[in-house]
Protein backbone atom coordinates (compact mmCIF):
# COMPACT_ATOMS: atom_id res chain seq x y z
CA UNK A 1 0.00 0.00 0.00
CA UNK A 2 1.19 3.47 -0.79
CA UNK A 3 1.86 5.92 1.99
CA UNK A 4 -0.33 8.54 0.39
CA UNK A 5 -2.97 7.80 -2.21
CA UNK A 6 -4.83 10.73 -3.71
CA UNK A 7 -7.85 9.63 -5.73
CA UNK A 8 -9.81 11.84 -8.04
CA UNK A 9 -9.18 14.97 -5.99
CA UNK A 10 -11.25 17.98 -6.90
CA UNK A 11 -10.78 21.33 -5.18
CA UNK A 12 -12.96 24.21 -6.24
CA UNK A 13 -13.03 27.82 -5.11
CA UNK A 14 -15.95 30.15 -4.99
CA UNK A 15 -14.79 33.45 -6.47
CA UNK A 16 -16.42 36.62 -7.67
CA UNK A 17 -16.10 35.51 -11.27
CA UNK A 18 -17.68 32.08 -10.68
CA UNK A 19 -16.47 28.73 -9.42
CA UNK A 20 -12.77 28.19 -10.07
CA UNK A 21 -12.10 24.51 -10.67
CA UNK A 22 -8.52 24.79 -9.45
CA UNK A 23 -7.97 21.04 -9.13
CA UNK A 24 -10.13 18.81 -11.29
CA UNK A 25 -9.82 15.08 -10.79
CA UNK A 26 -6.18 14.55 -9.83
CA UNK A 27 -4.95 11.12 -8.71
CA UNK A 28 -1.45 10.12 -7.66
CA UNK A 29 0.30 8.14 -4.98
CA UNK A 30 3.48 8.48 -2.98
CA UNK A 31 5.37 5.38 -1.86
CA UNK A 32 7.41 5.16 1.29
CA UNK A 33 10.84 6.71 0.89
CA UNK A 34 10.37 8.19 -2.55
CA UNK A 35 10.39 11.76 -3.80
CA UNK A 36 7.52 12.74 -6.01
CA UNK A 37 7.64 15.95 -8.02
CA UNK A 38 4.48 17.82 -8.85
CA UNK A 39 5.45 20.24 -11.56
CA UNK A 40 3.54 22.87 -13.46
CA UNK A 41 3.22 26.59 -13.99
CA UNK A 42 1.39 29.10 -11.83
CA UNK A 43 -2.31 28.41 -11.66
CA UNK A 44 -1.97 24.74 -12.62
CA UNK A 45 -3.28 23.65 -9.23
CA UNK A 46 -0.10 22.15 -7.81
CA UNK A 47 -0.05 24.28 -4.69
CA UNK A 48 -3.80 23.93 -4.22
CA UNK A 49 -3.29 20.18 -4.31
CA UNK A 50 -0.79 20.34 -1.47
CA UNK A 51 -2.97 22.73 0.52
CA UNK A 52 -5.89 20.35 -0.01
CA UNK A 53 -3.87 17.44 1.37
CA UNK A 54 -3.05 19.50 4.45
CA UNK A 55 -6.62 20.84 4.54
CA UNK A 56 -5.26 24.36 4.87
CA UNK A 57 -7.68 26.09 2.49
CA UNK A 58 -10.35 28.47 3.79
CA UNK A 59 -13.44 26.33 4.42
CA UNK A 60 -15.98 28.89 3.31
CA UNK A 61 -14.42 29.54 -0.08
CA UNK A 62 -12.85 26.22 -1.00
CA UNK A 63 -14.17 22.69 -1.02
CA UNK A 64 -12.54 19.37 -1.89
CA UNK A 65 -14.03 16.13 -3.14
CA UNK A 66 -12.45 12.76 -3.80
CA UNK A 67 -10.19 10.84 -1.46
CA UNK A 68 -6.87 11.62 0.16
CA UNK A 69 -5.79 8.37 1.79
CA UNK A 70 -2.87 8.55 4.21
CA UNK A 71 -2.07 5.00 5.27
CA UNK A 72 -5.59 4.11 4.16
CA UNK A 73 -7.30 6.83 6.20
CA UNK A 74 -9.22 9.48 4.24
CA UNK A 75 -8.00 12.90 5.39
CA UNK A 76 -11.09 14.57 3.96
CA UNK A 77 -13.25 12.70 6.50
CA UNK A 78 -11.25 13.71 9.56
CA UNK A 79 -12.39 16.29 12.07
CA UNK A 80 -10.37 19.47 12.39
CA UNK A 81 -8.93 18.22 15.71
CA UNK A 82 -7.80 14.95 14.13
CA UNK A 83 -6.39 16.90 11.20
CA UNK A 84 -4.30 19.07 13.53
CA UNK A 85 -2.77 15.87 14.76
CA UNK A 86 -1.97 14.74 11.24
CA UNK A 87 -0.29 18.05 10.38
CA UNK A 88 3.12 17.96 11.91
CA UNK A 89 2.96 14.44 13.27
CA UNK A 90 2.33 12.58 10.04
CA UNK A 91 2.81 15.21 7.35
CA UNK A 92 5.28 18.06 7.60
CA UNK A 93 5.15 21.01 5.27
CA UNK A 94 7.60 23.68 4.17
CA UNK A 95 6.66 26.72 2.16
CA UNK A 96 8.26 28.98 -0.38
CA UNK A 97 8.73 32.02 1.82
CA UNK A 98 10.33 30.98 5.09
CA UNK A 99 10.15 34.47 6.56
CA UNK A 100 6.37 34.67 6.70
CA UNK A 101 6.12 31.19 8.18
CA UNK A 102 8.21 32.04 11.21
CA UNK A 103 7.05 34.18 14.10
CA UNK A 104 9.17 37.36 13.97
CA UNK A 105 8.99 38.10 17.71
CA UNK A 106 10.15 34.71 18.99
CA UNK A 107 13.68 33.42 18.87
CA UNK A 108 14.40 30.55 16.57
CA UNK A 109 15.20 28.34 19.55
CA UNK A 110 11.88 29.14 21.24
CA UNK A 111 9.97 28.16 18.10
CA UNK A 112 11.80 24.90 17.61
CA UNK A 113 11.53 24.03 21.29
CA UNK A 114 7.81 24.82 21.28
CA UNK A 115 7.24 22.46 18.38
CA UNK A 116 9.34 19.75 20.01
CA UNK A 117 7.45 20.09 23.31
CA UNK A 118 4.12 20.12 21.53
CA UNK A 119 4.64 17.02 19.47
CA UNK A 120 6.98 14.81 21.46
CA UNK A 121 6.41 13.49 24.91
CA UNK A 122 9.89 13.88 26.30
CA UNK A 123 10.94 15.34 29.64
CA UNK A 124 11.10 19.12 29.44
CA UNK A 125 14.76 19.01 30.41
CA UNK A 126 15.51 17.21 27.16
CA UNK A 127 13.57 19.58 24.94
CA UNK A 128 16.47 21.97 24.51
CA UNK A 129 18.87 19.18 23.56
CA UNK A 130 16.42 17.71 21.08
CA UNK A 131 15.82 21.12 19.48
CA UNK A 132 19.55 21.70 19.25
CA UNK A 133 20.05 18.33 17.59
CA UNK A 134 17.30 19.11 15.06
CA UNK A 135 19.05 22.33 14.06
CA UNK A 136 22.36 20.50 13.75
CA UNK A 137 20.65 17.86 11.63
CA UNK A 138 19.54 20.47 9.10
CA UNK A 139 23.07 21.80 8.88
CA UNK A 140 22.87 25.01 10.85
CA UNK A 141 26.39 25.96 11.89
CA UNK A 142 26.86 27.20 15.43
CA UNK A 143 23.34 26.02 16.25
CA UNK A 144 23.50 26.86 19.95
CA UNK A 145 24.07 30.53 19.19
CA UNK A 146 21.54 30.57 16.35
CA UNK A 147 18.85 29.41 18.76
CA UNK A 148 19.03 32.73 20.57
CA UNK A 149 18.55 34.73 17.37
CA UNK A 150 15.38 36.05 15.75
CA UNK A 151 14.22 35.05 12.26
CA UNK A 152 15.14 38.44 10.74
CA UNK A 153 18.74 37.94 11.79
CA UNK A 154 19.02 34.87 9.59
CA UNK A 155 19.51 34.64 5.83
CA UNK A 156 16.87 33.13 3.56
CA UNK A 157 18.72 29.85 3.32
CA UNK A 158 19.07 29.60 7.10
CA UNK A 159 15.40 30.34 7.59
CA UNK A 160 14.47 27.61 5.13
CA UNK A 161 16.68 25.22 7.13
CA UNK A 162 14.80 26.21 10.28
CA UNK A 163 11.50 25.53 8.52
CA UNK A 164 12.76 22.11 7.50
CA UNK A 165 13.84 21.44 11.07
CA UNK A 166 10.38 22.44 12.32
CA UNK A 167 8.69 20.21 9.76
CA UNK A 168 10.91 17.27 10.71
CA UNK A 169 10.65 17.54 14.49
CA UNK A 170 8.09 14.73 14.77
CA UNK A 171 9.72 12.61 12.11
CA UNK A 172 6.73 12.75 9.77
CA UNK A 173 6.42 9.99 7.21
CA UNK A 174 5.68 12.56 4.51
CA UNK A 175 7.18 15.99 3.87
CA UNK A 176 5.44 18.35 1.47
CA UNK A 177 7.83 20.98 0.15
CA UNK A 178 6.02 23.70 -1.78
CA UNK A 179 8.54 25.60 -3.91
CA UNK A 180 11.13 25.30 -1.11
CA UNK A 181 13.95 26.85 -3.11
CA UNK A 182 12.16 29.37 -5.32
CA UNK A 183 12.93 32.34 -3.08
CA UNK A 184 16.56 31.32 -2.68
CA UNK A 185 19.68 32.00 -4.69
CA UNK A 186 21.08 29.23 -6.84
CA UNK A 187 24.06 28.51 -4.64
CA UNK A 188 21.74 28.24 -1.62
CA UNK A 189 19.20 26.24 -3.62
CA UNK A 190 21.85 23.63 -4.26
CA UNK A 191 22.51 23.39 -0.51
CA UNK A 192 18.84 22.97 0.38
CA UNK A 193 18.23 20.31 -2.25
CA UNK A 194 21.25 18.43 -0.96
CA UNK A 195 19.86 18.70 2.56
CA UNK A 196 16.50 17.27 1.49
CA UNK A 197 18.26 14.36 -0.19
CA UNK A 198 20.32 13.65 2.94
CA UNK A 199 17.25 13.73 5.16
CA UNK A 200 15.42 11.35 2.92
CA UNK A 201 18.32 8.95 2.88
CA UNK A 202 18.81 9.03 6.64
CA UNK A 203 15.19 9.11 7.79
CA UNK A 204 13.36 7.44 4.94
CA UNK A 205 10.91 10.33 4.70
CA UNK A 206 8.74 10.49 1.60
CA UNK A 207 8.80 13.89 -0.06
CA UNK A 208 6.36 15.65 -2.34
CA UNK A 209 8.31 18.40 -4.01
CA UNK A 210 6.11 21.01 -5.63
CA UNK A 211 7.94 23.20 -8.08
CA UNK A 212 7.77 25.02 -11.39
CA UNK A 213 11.45 24.43 -12.01
CA UNK A 214 12.28 21.41 -14.13
CA UNK A 215 15.90 21.78 -13.11
CA UNK A 216 14.94 21.13 -9.51
CA UNK A 217 12.80 18.19 -10.62
CA UNK A 218 15.72 16.68 -12.47
CA UNK A 219 18.09 17.12 -9.56
CA UNK A 220 15.97 15.91 -6.70
CA UNK A 221 13.07 13.61 -7.56
CA UNK A 222 12.28 10.00 -8.45
CA UNK A 223 8.92 10.31 -10.13
CA UNK A 224 7.11 13.30 -11.61
CA UNK A 225 3.50 14.35 -12.03
CA UNK A 226 2.93 17.15 -14.53
CA UNK A 227 -0.14 19.33 -13.97
CA UNK A 228 -1.82 21.70 -16.36
CA UNK A 229 -5.03 23.66 -15.77
CA UNK A 230 -5.92 21.69 -12.65
CA UNK A 231 -5.42 18.28 -14.24
CA UNK A 232 -2.69 15.69 -14.15
CA UNK A 233 -1.61 15.37 -17.74
CA UNK A 234 1.45 13.16 -17.45
CA UNK A 235 3.25 10.98 -14.94
CA UNK A 236 6.44 8.98 -15.28
CA UNK A 237 9.71 8.25 -13.55
CA UNK A 238 11.60 11.55 -13.63
CA UNK A 239 14.41 10.36 -15.86
CA UNK A 240 11.94 8.88 -18.37
CA UNK A 241 9.78 11.97 -18.33
CA UNK A 242 12.68 14.30 -18.99
CA UNK A 243 14.19 12.06 -21.64
CA UNK A 244 11.01 11.17 -23.51
CA UNK A 245 8.00 13.26 -22.55
CA UNK A 246 4.78 12.17 -24.26
CA UNK A 247 2.43 15.07 -23.66
CA UNK A 248 2.92 18.09 -25.96
CA UNK A 249 2.74 20.44 -22.97
CA UNK A 250 5.56 18.63 -21.18
CA UNK A 251 7.51 18.61 -24.40
CA UNK A 252 6.97 22.33 -24.84
CA UNK A 253 7.85 23.06 -21.26
CA UNK A 254 11.10 21.13 -21.51
CA UNK A 255 12.04 22.82 -24.74
CA UNK A 256 11.32 26.24 -23.24
CA UNK A 257 13.65 25.77 -20.28
CA UNK A 258 16.66 27.95 -20.87
CA UNK A 259 19.86 25.95 -20.67
CA UNK A 260 23.44 26.99 -20.28
CA UNK A 261 25.24 26.80 -23.56
CA UNK A 262 22.92 29.10 -25.48
CA UNK A 263 24.03 30.97 -28.55
CA UNK A 264 23.26 34.50 -27.37
CA UNK A 265 20.64 34.94 -30.08
CA UNK A 266 17.92 35.05 -27.47
CA UNK A 267 15.73 32.51 -29.25
CA UNK A 268 14.06 30.01 -26.99
CA UNK A 269 11.34 27.54 -27.84
CA UNK A 270 8.10 29.06 -26.60
CA UNK A 271 4.61 27.77 -26.00
CA UNK A 272 2.28 30.30 -27.58
CA UNK A 273 -0.87 31.55 -25.90
CA UNK A 274 -2.11 31.62 -22.34
CA UNK A 275 -3.41 29.22 -19.72
CA UNK A 276 -7.22 28.85 -20.00
CA UNK A 277 -9.56 30.56 -17.53
CA UNK A 278 -10.51 27.83 -15.07
CA UNK A 279 -13.75 29.52 -14.14
CA UNK A 280 -15.15 28.88 -17.60
CA UNK A 281 -16.53 25.50 -18.60
CA UNK A 282 -14.00 23.56 -20.64
CA UNK A 283 -14.69 21.20 -23.47
CA UNK A 284 -12.03 19.02 -24.97
CA UNK A 285 -8.38 19.01 -24.02
CA UNK A 286 -7.37 21.87 -21.72
CA UNK A 287 -4.14 22.35 -23.69
CA UNK A 288 -5.76 22.29 -27.15
CA UNK A 289 -5.71 26.07 -27.61
CA UNK A 290 -1.91 26.18 -27.23
CA UNK A 291 -1.07 22.87 -28.86
CA UNK A 292 0.39 22.93 -32.36
CA UNK A 293 -0.90 19.45 -33.15
CA UNK A 294 -4.42 19.79 -31.76
CA UNK A 295 -7.19 18.37 -33.93
CA UNK A 296 -10.93 18.95 -33.89
CA UNK A 297 -11.22 15.71 -31.97
CA UNK A 298 -8.92 17.14 -29.27
CA UNK A 299 -11.02 20.28 -29.04
CA UNK A 300 -14.22 18.28 -28.65
CA UNK A 301 -13.20 15.44 -26.34
CA UNK A 302 -11.06 15.72 -23.23
CA UNK A 303 -8.39 13.00 -23.23
CA UNK A 304 -8.27 10.57 -20.31
CA UNK A 305 -5.00 9.39 -18.81
CA UNK A 306 -3.68 6.37 -20.66
CA UNK A 307 -0.68 4.12 -20.21
CA UNK A 308 1.73 5.04 -22.97
CA UNK A 309 4.68 2.94 -21.78
CA UNK A 310 5.45 0.98 -18.63
CA UNK A 311 5.12 3.38 -15.70
CA UNK A 312 4.40 6.25 -18.06
CA UNK A 313 0.91 7.68 -18.35
CA UNK A 314 -0.26 10.75 -20.22
CA UNK A 315 -3.53 12.39 -21.22
CA UNK A 316 -3.17 13.04 -24.95
CA UNK A 317 -5.12 11.58 -27.84
CA UNK A 318 -2.16 12.00 -30.14
CA UNK A 319 0.44 10.18 -28.06
CA UNK A 320 0.28 6.59 -29.29
CA UNK A 321 0.80 3.97 -26.62
CA UNK A 322 3.85 1.82 -27.19
CA UNK A 323 2.96 -1.72 -28.16
CA UNK A 324 3.48 -3.49 -24.92
CA UNK A 325 4.99 -6.88 -25.01
Amino acid sequence: MSLLDVRNLQTHFRTRGGVNRAVEGVSFHVDAGETLAIVGESGCGKSVTSMSIMRLLPENAARSAGEILLNGRNLLDLSEAQMRDVRGNEIGMIFQEPMTSLNPVLTVGAQVKETVALHQSIPSADVHDRALRMLELVGIPDAARRMTEYPHQLSGGMRQRIMIALALVCQPKLLIADEPTTALDVTIQAQILELLRDIQREQGTSIILITHDLGVVAEATDRTVVMYAGRKIEEAPTATLLAAPRHPYTQGLLAAVPRLGGDGSGRLAEIPGQVPDMRKPMTGCAFANRCAQATDFCRAHAPALERKAPGHIAACHLAEPEILA
Binding site: E41, V216, A256, I271
Partner: protein, 324 residues
Protein backbone atom coordinates in the same frame (compact mmCIF):
# COMPACT_ATOMS: atom_id res chain seq x y z
CA UNK B 1 34.57 55.73 -30.08
CA UNK B 2 32.72 56.66 -26.91
CA UNK B 3 30.43 53.92 -25.71
CA UNK B 4 26.71 54.62 -25.39
CA UNK B 5 26.72 54.17 -21.62
CA UNK B 6 29.65 54.53 -19.27
CA UNK B 7 29.53 53.77 -15.60
CA UNK B 8 32.58 55.09 -13.77
CA UNK B 9 33.46 54.16 -10.22
CA UNK B 10 29.83 53.91 -9.13
CA UNK B 11 29.25 53.48 -5.40
CA UNK B 12 25.99 53.61 -3.52
CA UNK B 13 25.67 53.68 0.23
CA UNK B 14 22.49 53.45 2.22
CA UNK B 15 22.00 54.66 5.72
CA UNK B 16 20.35 52.09 7.91
CA UNK B 17 19.42 52.32 11.53
CA UNK B 18 19.08 55.70 13.09
CA UNK B 19 19.59 56.39 16.71
CA UNK B 20 16.98 58.27 18.73
CA UNK B 21 18.44 61.64 17.75
CA UNK B 22 18.48 61.02 14.01
CA UNK B 23 22.15 60.18 13.76
CA UNK B 24 22.96 57.52 11.24
CA UNK B 25 24.46 54.56 12.99
CA UNK B 26 25.34 52.30 10.06
CA UNK B 27 25.83 52.48 6.33
CA UNK B 28 25.43 49.63 3.90
CA UNK B 29 27.74 49.78 0.94
CA UNK B 30 25.34 48.30 -1.60
CA UNK B 31 27.58 48.99 -4.57
CA UNK B 32 31.28 49.77 -4.54
CA UNK B 33 33.42 51.09 -7.34
CA UNK B 34 31.56 49.56 -10.26
CA UNK B 35 32.65 50.53 -13.77
CA UNK B 36 31.59 49.23 -17.15
CA UNK B 37 30.61 50.39 -20.64
CA UNK B 38 27.81 49.41 -22.95
CA UNK B 39 28.18 50.06 -26.68
CA UNK B 40 25.32 50.95 -28.99
CA UNK B 41 23.15 47.91 -29.65
CA UNK B 42 25.09 45.76 -27.20
CA UNK B 43 23.65 43.64 -24.39
CA UNK B 44 25.47 43.51 -21.07
CA UNK B 45 24.14 41.32 -18.28
CA UNK B 46 24.67 41.98 -14.61
CA UNK B 47 24.41 38.69 -12.74
CA UNK B 48 24.73 37.69 -9.14
CA UNK B 49 22.70 36.58 -6.18
CA UNK B 50 20.24 38.67 -4.22
CA UNK B 51 21.89 41.51 -2.37
CA UNK B 52 24.88 41.67 -4.70
CA UNK B 53 23.95 45.18 -5.78
CA UNK B 54 23.00 44.49 -9.38
CA UNK B 55 19.60 46.14 -9.11
CA UNK B 56 21.12 49.11 -7.27
CA UNK B 57 23.40 49.68 -10.26
CA UNK B 58 20.37 49.48 -12.59
CA UNK B 59 18.41 51.95 -10.50
CA UNK B 60 21.27 54.43 -10.50
CA UNK B 61 21.45 54.26 -14.30
CA UNK B 62 17.68 54.60 -14.48
CA UNK B 63 17.86 57.78 -12.43
CA UNK B 64 15.77 56.32 -9.63
CA UNK B 65 18.42 57.24 -7.13
CA UNK B 66 21.64 59.18 -7.21
CA UNK B 67 25.02 57.52 -6.86
CA UNK B 68 26.94 58.30 -3.69
CA UNK B 69 30.19 58.39 -5.64
CA UNK B 70 30.93 57.96 -9.32
CA UNK B 71 29.39 58.88 -12.62
CA UNK B 72 26.85 57.56 -15.06
CA UNK B 73 27.42 58.93 -18.56
CA UNK B 74 25.39 58.63 -21.73
CA UNK B 75 27.42 59.60 -24.79
CA UNK B 76 29.85 61.23 -22.41
CA UNK B 77 27.19 63.35 -20.69
CA UNK B 78 26.55 62.76 -17.00
CA UNK B 79 23.13 61.91 -15.66
CA UNK B 80 23.67 64.60 -13.04
CA UNK B 81 23.73 67.27 -15.77
CA UNK B 82 20.83 65.90 -17.81
CA UNK B 83 17.19 66.77 -17.14
CA UNK B 84 14.79 63.86 -16.66
CA UNK B 85 13.17 64.28 -20.09
CA UNK B 86 16.55 64.20 -21.81
CA UNK B 87 17.71 61.11 -19.92
CA UNK B 88 14.53 59.09 -19.86
CA UNK B 89 13.74 59.56 -23.51
CA UNK B 90 16.95 57.61 -24.13
CA UNK B 91 17.13 55.27 -21.12
CA UNK B 92 14.11 53.21 -20.14
CA UNK B 93 13.33 50.41 -17.71
CA UNK B 94 11.35 47.16 -17.81
CA UNK B 95 10.54 46.23 -14.22
CA UNK B 96 10.48 42.81 -12.59
CA UNK B 97 6.99 42.44 -11.26
CA UNK B 98 4.38 42.54 -14.02
CA UNK B 99 1.68 43.08 -11.42
CA UNK B 100 2.91 46.00 -9.34
CA UNK B 101 4.66 47.81 -12.19
CA UNK B 102 1.39 48.82 -13.88
CA UNK B 103 -0.97 51.30 -12.25
CA UNK B 104 -4.14 49.25 -11.67
CA UNK B 105 -6.39 52.28 -12.25
CA UNK B 106 -5.06 53.30 -15.65
CA UNK B 107 -6.06 51.93 -19.01
CA UNK B 108 -3.33 50.21 -20.98
CA UNK B 109 -3.44 52.97 -23.59
CA UNK B 110 -2.73 55.62 -20.97
CA UNK B 111 0.02 53.55 -19.38
CA UNK B 112 1.86 53.25 -22.68
CA UNK B 113 1.21 56.89 -23.56
CA UNK B 114 2.57 58.29 -20.31
CA UNK B 115 6.18 58.75 -21.43
CA UNK B 116 5.03 60.04 -24.82
CA UNK B 117 2.89 62.84 -23.41
CA UNK B 118 5.63 63.73 -20.94
CA UNK B 119 8.19 64.02 -23.71
CA UNK B 120 6.03 66.38 -25.75
CA UNK B 121 4.27 64.20 -28.27
CA UNK B 122 1.07 65.60 -29.78
CA UNK B 123 -2.20 63.83 -29.16
CA UNK B 124 -2.56 62.47 -32.69
CA UNK B 125 1.05 61.29 -32.77
CA UNK B 126 0.67 59.65 -29.35
CA UNK B 127 -2.42 57.77 -30.44
CA UNK B 128 -0.72 56.45 -33.55
CA UNK B 129 2.42 55.50 -31.62
CA UNK B 130 0.45 53.62 -28.95
CA UNK B 131 -1.26 51.55 -31.68
CA UNK B 132 2.12 50.86 -33.24
CA UNK B 133 3.57 49.77 -29.87
CA UNK B 134 0.65 47.45 -29.10
CA UNK B 135 1.34 45.71 -32.40
CA UNK B 136 5.08 45.75 -31.81
CA UNK B 137 4.84 43.80 -28.55
CA UNK B 138 2.14 41.55 -30.04
CA UNK B 139 -0.70 42.47 -27.75
CA UNK B 140 -4.26 42.09 -29.01
CA UNK B 141 -5.50 45.17 -30.88
CA UNK B 142 -8.19 45.98 -28.31
CA UNK B 143 -5.68 45.92 -25.42
CA UNK B 144 -5.55 49.72 -25.18
CA UNK B 145 -9.07 50.02 -23.82
CA UNK B 146 -8.58 47.48 -21.08
CA UNK B 147 -7.15 47.59 -17.58
CA UNK B 148 -4.01 45.72 -16.45
CA UNK B 149 -5.89 43.25 -14.25
CA UNK B 150 -7.57 41.80 -17.33
CA UNK B 151 -4.23 40.45 -18.52
CA UNK B 152 -2.02 37.55 -17.49
CA UNK B 153 1.52 38.03 -16.20
CA UNK B 154 3.13 37.58 -19.60
CA UNK B 155 0.72 39.96 -21.31
CA UNK B 156 1.29 42.52 -18.59
CA UNK B 157 5.02 42.30 -19.11
CA UNK B 158 4.37 43.08 -22.79
CA UNK B 159 2.55 46.23 -21.67
CA UNK B 160 5.57 47.16 -19.55
CA UNK B 161 7.85 46.62 -22.53
CA UNK B 162 5.62 48.75 -24.76
CA UNK B 163 5.77 51.56 -22.21
CA UNK B 164 9.56 51.33 -22.05
CA UNK B 165 9.88 51.39 -25.84
CA UNK B 166 7.44 54.28 -26.30
CA UNK B 167 9.99 57.11 -26.31
CA UNK B 168 12.29 55.14 -28.67
CA UNK B 169 15.08 54.68 -26.11
CA UNK B 170 18.59 53.61 -27.00
CA UNK B 171 19.20 51.72 -23.76
CA UNK B 172 16.66 49.57 -21.95
CA UNK B 173 17.37 48.31 -18.45
CA UNK B 174 15.65 44.97 -17.89
CA UNK B 175 15.65 44.56 -14.13
CA UNK B 176 14.82 40.87 -13.58
CA UNK B 177 12.28 41.47 -16.33
CA UNK B 178 11.44 37.80 -16.87
CA UNK B 179 12.19 36.36 -13.42
CA UNK B 180 8.60 36.44 -12.19
CA UNK B 181 7.21 34.68 -15.27
CA UNK B 182 6.39 31.05 -15.88
CA UNK B 183 8.73 29.02 -18.05
CA UNK B 184 6.57 28.94 -21.16
CA UNK B 185 5.76 32.65 -20.92
CA UNK B 186 9.34 33.53 -19.97
CA UNK B 187 10.46 32.10 -23.28
CA UNK B 188 7.89 34.23 -25.11
CA UNK B 189 9.13 37.41 -23.45
CA UNK B 190 12.83 36.60 -23.90
CA UNK B 191 12.17 35.98 -27.58
CA UNK B 192 10.24 39.24 -27.84
CA UNK B 193 13.10 41.16 -26.23
CA UNK B 194 15.61 39.54 -28.56
CA UNK B 195 13.49 40.36 -31.61
CA UNK B 196 12.97 43.95 -30.54
CA UNK B 197 16.66 44.37 -29.82
CA UNK B 198 17.52 43.26 -33.34
CA UNK B 199 14.71 45.25 -34.93
CA UNK B 200 15.32 48.51 -33.09
CA UNK B 201 19.08 48.31 -32.46
CA UNK B 202 18.58 48.58 -28.71
CA UNK B 203 21.29 48.30 -26.13
CA UNK B 204 20.17 46.24 -23.13
CA UNK B 205 21.36 46.16 -19.57
CA UNK B 206 19.98 42.79 -18.55
CA UNK B 207 19.91 42.34 -14.79
CA UNK B 208 19.20 38.76 -13.75
CA UNK B 209 20.06 36.03 -11.33
CA UNK B 210 19.20 33.40 -13.96
CA UNK B 211 22.40 32.47 -15.75
CA UNK B 212 20.69 30.21 -18.26
CA UNK B 213 18.46 33.05 -19.49
CA UNK B 214 21.45 35.38 -19.58
CA UNK B 215 23.35 32.86 -21.65
CA UNK B 216 20.59 33.05 -24.23
CA UNK B 217 20.42 36.77 -24.66
CA UNK B 218 23.65 38.51 -23.75
CA UNK B 219 26.82 39.66 -25.49
CA UNK B 220 28.82 40.36 -22.36
CA UNK B 221 28.45 39.46 -18.70
CA UNK B 222 29.51 41.12 -15.45
CA UNK B 223 29.34 38.97 -12.32
CA UNK B 224 28.75 40.81 -9.06
CA UNK B 225 29.33 39.67 -5.50
CA UNK B 226 28.53 41.78 -2.46
CA UNK B 227 28.54 45.09 -4.29
CA UNK B 228 31.54 44.61 -6.56
CA UNK B 229 32.14 43.24 -10.01
CA UNK B 230 34.32 40.15 -9.60
CA UNK B 231 34.52 39.12 -13.23
CA UNK B 232 33.57 40.68 -16.54
CA UNK B 233 33.95 39.42 -20.07
CA UNK B 234 32.20 38.28 -23.21
CA UNK B 235 29.58 35.60 -22.89
CA UNK B 236 31.64 32.99 -24.70
CA UNK B 237 34.74 33.64 -22.61
CA UNK B 238 33.02 33.92 -19.29
CA UNK B 239 30.55 31.06 -19.60
CA UNK B 240 32.96 28.93 -21.57
CA UNK B 241 35.91 29.32 -19.22
CA UNK B 242 34.94 31.03 -15.97
CA UNK B 243 37.97 32.16 -14.01
CA UNK B 244 36.77 33.60 -10.73
CA UNK B 245 35.90 30.89 -8.21
CA UNK B 246 32.54 32.55 -7.55
CA UNK B 247 31.61 32.57 -11.23
CA UNK B 248 32.51 28.90 -11.39
CA UNK B 249 30.38 28.04 -8.39
CA UNK B 250 27.48 30.08 -9.72
CA UNK B 251 27.59 28.34 -13.07
CA UNK B 252 27.87 24.91 -11.56
CA UNK B 253 24.88 25.55 -9.30
CA UNK B 254 22.51 26.07 -12.23
CA UNK B 255 20.24 23.01 -12.21
CA UNK B 256 20.52 20.81 -15.28
CA UNK B 257 17.35 19.47 -16.81
CA UNK B 258 18.74 17.00 -19.25
CA UNK B 259 19.52 13.61 -17.80
CA UNK B 260 23.06 12.42 -18.28
CA UNK B 261 24.44 15.93 -18.49
CA UNK B 262 25.13 16.46 -14.82
CA UNK B 263 28.23 18.49 -14.17
CA UNK B 264 30.50 18.20 -11.23
CA UNK B 265 28.93 20.53 -8.77
CA UNK B 266 30.75 22.99 -6.58
CA UNK B 267 28.32 23.40 -3.69
CA UNK B 268 29.41 26.56 -1.95
CA UNK B 269 29.50 26.25 1.79
CA UNK B 270 28.14 28.95 4.03
CA UNK B 271 25.95 31.92 3.47
CA UNK B 272 26.22 35.27 1.81
CA UNK B 273 27.85 37.55 4.42
CA UNK B 274 25.78 40.49 5.62
CA UNK B 275 26.47 43.63 3.57
CA UNK B 276 26.41 45.48 6.91
CA UNK B 277 29.63 43.84 7.94
CA UNK B 278 31.37 42.46 4.86
CA UNK B 279 34.53 40.41 5.33
CA UNK B 280 37.81 42.27 5.04
CA UNK B 281 39.76 41.97 1.83
CA UNK B 282 38.06 39.77 -0.75
CA UNK B 283 34.36 39.54 0.20
CA UNK B 284 34.11 36.04 -1.24
CA UNK B 285 36.94 34.54 0.81
CA UNK B 286 34.58 33.21 3.51
CA UNK B 287 33.00 30.82 0.99
CA UNK B 288 35.85 30.46 -1.46
CA UNK B 289 37.39 27.03 -2.04
CA UNK B 290 40.68 28.69 -3.05
CA UNK B 291 40.92 31.18 -0.19
CA UNK B 292 44.39 31.85 1.18
CA UNK B 293 45.40 33.85 4.27
CA UNK B 294 46.44 36.69 1.97
CA UNK B 295 42.85 37.14 0.73
CA UNK B 296 41.90 38.85 3.97
CA UNK B 297 44.26 41.74 3.23
CA UNK B 298 43.40 44.11 0.41
CA UNK B 299 40.29 44.17 -1.71
CA UNK B 300 41.40 42.51 -4.94
CA UNK B 301 41.34 44.83 -7.97
CA UNK B 302 40.01 43.82 -11.36
CA UNK B 303 42.96 42.82 -13.52
CA UNK B 304 43.05 42.15 -17.25
CA UNK B 305 43.31 38.49 -18.15
CA UNK B 306 42.51 38.83 -21.83
CA UNK B 307 40.91 41.22 -24.28
CA UNK B 308 37.89 42.77 -22.56
CA UNK B 309 38.20 40.26 -19.76
CA UNK B 310 38.85 41.21 -16.16
CA UNK B 311 38.89 39.20 -12.97
CA UNK B 312 39.23 40.27 -9.35
CA UNK B 313 41.03 37.28 -7.88
CA UNK B 314 44.79 37.41 -7.34
CA UNK B 315 44.90 33.70 -6.55
CA UNK B 316 43.62 32.51 -9.92
CA UNK B 317 45.35 35.22 -11.94
CA UNK B 318 48.67 34.30 -10.28
CA UNK B 319 48.26 30.62 -11.03
CA UNK B 320 47.28 31.30 -14.66
CA UNK B 321 50.31 33.56 -14.93
CA UNK B 322 52.48 30.75 -13.56
CA UNK B 323 51.19 28.42 -16.23
CA UNK B 324 52.05 30.97 -18.88
Amino acid sequence: MTPLLSVRGLSKEYEVGRSLFGKTTKTVKAVQDVSFDIAKGETLSLVGESGCGKSTVGRAIAGLHAATVGEVLLDGRSIADTPSAGWHSRVQVVFQDPFSSLNPRMRVRDIIAEPLTNFGSTRAKTEARVKELIDLVRLPRDAGDRFPHEFSGGQRQRIGIARALAPKPELVICDEAVSALDVSVKAQIVNLLADLRAELGLALLFISHDLAIVDHITDRVAVMYLGRIVEIGTRDDLFGAPVHPYTRALLSAVPVVDPGQRRDRIVLQGELPSPLSPPSGCAFRTRCPLAEPGCAGNVPALTDVGPGRQVACPVVTRTTADVN
